[in-house]
Every structure is written in structure tokens, then in C-alpha cells.
Symmetry: C2
Subunit: 145 residues, 2 copies
Amino acid sequence: MELRDELYELVKALRVLKQQRHPVLPAGTVGLLQAIDRVRSATGGCHLKQVAAAIALDQSTASRAVSAAERSGLVRRVADPHDGRASLLELTDAGRTTLADAVAWYSALLSDALRDWSDEDLERFGGYLRRFTNDLHASHLEATR
Amino acid sequence: MELRDELYELVKALRVLKQQRHPVLPAGTVGLLQAIDRVRSATGGCHLKQVAAAIALDQSTASRAVSAAERSGLVRRVADPHDGRASLLELTDAGRTTLADAVAWYSALLSDALRDWSDEDLERFGGYLRRFTNDLHASHLEATR
DNA sequence: TACAGATGCTTGTAGAAGGCAAGTATTTGA
DNA sequence: TCAAATACTTGCCTTCTACAAGCATCTGTA
């Protein structure tokens, strides 16, 4: 079996999982909240544009996602005092709690699936995953340069 | 960084890749052709239902995908002589060629990204991926049983 | 200082992917 | 022989995402 097939199988499995075990929160929203949280703690503020970059989606998509999260009371838009066009995004208390719950939920799912793995294997697998993702990025950048 | 994050990053990278480097063939179609090919060589025939199971999609989705592939001349439906309700699916010559091209295209993409990897690392990573996918399946089955 | 262009964001529109439910035709088992 | 099961298709809906156009604000420069 080729790596190509392994990847396909993984993606397939994730698709199935996503469909059937619906989590505390739609997967996209978790990514959004996490991105906001991270951008904020990395740079102080958090503009929509940064979030879009962090989740690698179009700004319009991010905009709608934020609107939805705002409607659900998970995210707040605060006017940027230095730029009247922009808003600073931040999690509400509910958003923070919900994010923590969702992360815990996904972590538990993984822990359960990986309960037979040794710490060493987990460590190595994580390392390979990271390396692989980076290499995909790099080779993609080269190819489109 | 947690495995959860690594996975998220991988999925994100794959999404980006899928978007920008459009391949010889829509990714879904490749999976379809490959599934047909495999089911056929494993069981002789190939019913739609089997394909749907192989790609883990709803039968209706598979049905439309097959229709599209048929319109593109990649797949042929032959009436099943033993069952008037069913068709046997098979790749046309064009389908076989196209599949081979697409597989080569994806393989090249991967080879390029992974050109710095040792055979040993590739082997191990593939093993981890397979194991992980299986464990996800298993734990999902348990959880929904 | 006024204005052209850049920037931040939102909204309209469109398309792909996929599921569910209902419908049709055929087969099978009691 | 006929009711239930099966194989598939089709209608309809939702979700996700991109692109393009638009609006408001900001910034650099003449």
C-alpha cells in the first residue's frame, strides 16, 4: 500500500467520523475559535484577516463564520480604536468555555482511539505528521512560485 | 503541539493543496475509479452499492458520481445478467488511462514533497498512518455499537 | 489638504459535495 | 402470488467555500 492510499483512507475515515460522531461544536467553529484565541495571544489584537489566514480560508468565508459565531454568542467584535474599518475579535466567556469543551471532546476521542499507543509512538507519529505537513507546504510553495 | 493540532494542520494543508493545484482529475473521481477497479478485481463484478461502501459515501452520492463519470466516458454500466435491477460497473479504456495518469500525478506530487525522506521514515510513517486510521475506525465502531 | 489608491470587511452569487427521503423497477421468499 | 426486500435514481436541502463587487475608512503624496 502506498502512502497515497494511506492518506486517502485517513481522509475517508475522518469524513465518516465527522459525519457520525457529531461533536459539541461543528468542527469549523472549533478551528475558528482556536484561531482567534491564538492570534490574540500572539499579537494582542485579532483582525478578521488574520483569522482567515490562520485557518487558510477566504476572508469572506471567515467573515460569515465569525458572524455565525457572534450570533451564537461565542465571539465578540469590538471596534478597533485605531482603525475604523476593522473590528477586534475576541472570545466571549461562553466562547472560551465552549472551545475548552470542544477541545476536550476531540482530545478524548483521540485518546480513546490511541489508547494502545506508546508515548514513544505517539511522539514519533506526531513528528512525522508535522514534518509531512511542512513538506507539503514547502513543495507546494515551490511549485507555485 | 498536540496530535489534534497536527491533524488539523494536515487537513488544512490538504484543503489548500486541493484548491490550488488542481489535478488531472477531480479528487473524488479518482477515488471512484479506483474503487471500481478494486472491487472488480476483488469480486469479479461491481455493483453501485459496493462502490458506495468502498468510498464511504451515500449510495445517492455514488450514483451521481458514476453518472458523471459515465458522461465523461470513464465508466461503463453494463446490465447485470443475473439481476435486472443492477448494473455492473467497469472502467472504459479511457477510464483506465485517466486513472493511471491521475495516480501518477498524485504520486509525483507526494514524491516531490517527500523527496528528503528516507525510505525508512516513509515506511514508518505509512505504518503509523495505517495504524492510526484503523484505530480510529475501531474506536468509532465501539463507540457507536 | 484633498484626493487617489490601498485596505478591512461584508454581501451577492455560484458551485461542489454530500446526505436523507421518496420513488421505480425488479427480485425473492413465504 | 404477492408482500417485503433490494438496487438504484432522483428531488430537495444543507454546508462549505470561493470569487467578485461594493462600502467605508485610512494613508501617502502632490
